[in-house]
Amino acid sequence: MIEVNPIIIIFAAIFTSNMIFSNFLGMCSFIAVSKEIPTAIGLGISVTMVMTVTTILNYIIYWTVLVRFNLEYLMFIIFILIIAAFVQLLEMVLERYLPTLYYSLGIFLPLITVNCAILGISLFMVTRQYNFMQTLGYAVGSGIGWLLAITAMAGIRSRLNEKSIPEGLRGTPITLIITGIMALAFVGFSGMVQIQ
């Protein structure tokens, strides 16, 4: 693995290898929840938070426990358990100490456990052999990239409501086409920085 500056990784994760537009991660909730801007931002922020913390936890556990005892094959089960446990914990803590935040973000939290973006980032971090700072940069950048993508999408979709779209295209297909066009725009960034 070539040493890459974590700052560069943040930029790369937001623009050139954005999770939605080049890795197709987190598509399910991206399509389901991108109807209104406030909800999209809420989900985006929760995803960024959960992603940062769980990726770091997974990093620590992978290198200190799994690699040391030659248990790498258990990585899937351990990662998904950590994610589920963390989300559960976050839900309880928020409900107890920050009820207002809980009521605005609460509905998204269970959705996050099955968001493939969170697990995906942990797995990419392992296959690309990032060190600690790089992992941190990658997680934060990917979260922000996802937030950016879903907010932009919600902005576009909220204007689509009044437009006359062919009946068969309404709903998911038109969302996919718009995502494709956005992905094309993001391809334009690809000369900027390169990771992987």
């Binding site: 399910c28 094959y73 697990l119 086409i177």
Partner: protein
């Protein structure tokens, strides 16, 4: 014991009327990511069918012993164990495939199709039917993957399963192997199927 018509109904549902990708719009993350080559999609489809079928079987067998409020956790554990089996198998027998699929093998765990079938069907039905239902959903998913990837591979590389079918001199459509094309093709296929469905519905209304 199990009626033939029932089995037929399950397969028809999984592949056509309730196809997981087109109709229920779930599990599209991996449907888009691995479809640049047909071989990748085929292996991914088989892996997903295997995991779905056996997870549904296990969930259905254990349904009376699982406490209600932790059943999600149990399902996730069952699914991840089968994914680990698939991952180890791929690493041992198809190292190249395992490398090109990369983390997407692990992401089978969060594929909503499996959770959906386990929660929606296996939880309330006998083991063998659940097993068949898992296979049917997996087949539906595999077919969609092959459909998308055949378009992308023929236009992008001029090959089918790695065999050259278009002449070497053809200008390769590079966009087809890049991410954006996956969105466009899936959208177009969905558009066609949606139109078909709407037409059938309209016909049904007129008949009545």
């Amino acid at each position: 014991m199990i009626k033939k018509s029932e089995v037929k109904k399950i397969f028809k549902k999984g592949i056509y009327t309730e196809n997981p990708v087109f109709v229920q719009v779930i599990g599209i993350c991996s449907a888009l990511a691995v479809t640049n080559l047909m071989m990748n999609s085929l292996i991914m489809g088989i892996a997903l069918s295997f995991v779905t079928a056996f997870s549904c079987l296990t969930v259905s067998l254990l349904k009376s012993y699982t406490p209600k409020h932790i059943r999600m956790m149990v399902q996730v554990l069952i699914i991840s164990s089968f994914v680990i089996i698939v991952d180890i198998y791929l690493k041992a027998y198809m190292p190249n495939m395992s490398k090109s699929l990369g983390p997407y093998v692990g992401l089978i765990i969060t594929n909503c199709i499996i959770m959906g079938r386990a929660e929606g069907f296996a939880q309330a039905n006998p083991p063998i039917l659940s097993f068949l239902d898992g296979i049917a959903s997996g087949l539906g998913y595999t077919l969609v993957l092959l459909m998308i990837s055949s378009i992308r591979e023929i236009l992008g590389f001029g090959t089918v399963f790695g065999f050259q079918i278009l002449p070497e001199t053809i200008t390769k459509w590079t966009l087809m192997v890049m991410p954006p094309s996956a969105f466009f093709i899936l959208a177009c296929i969905m558009w066609v199927t949606n139109n078909r469905r709407l037409k059938l519905e309209r016909k049904g209304v007129e008949k009545r």
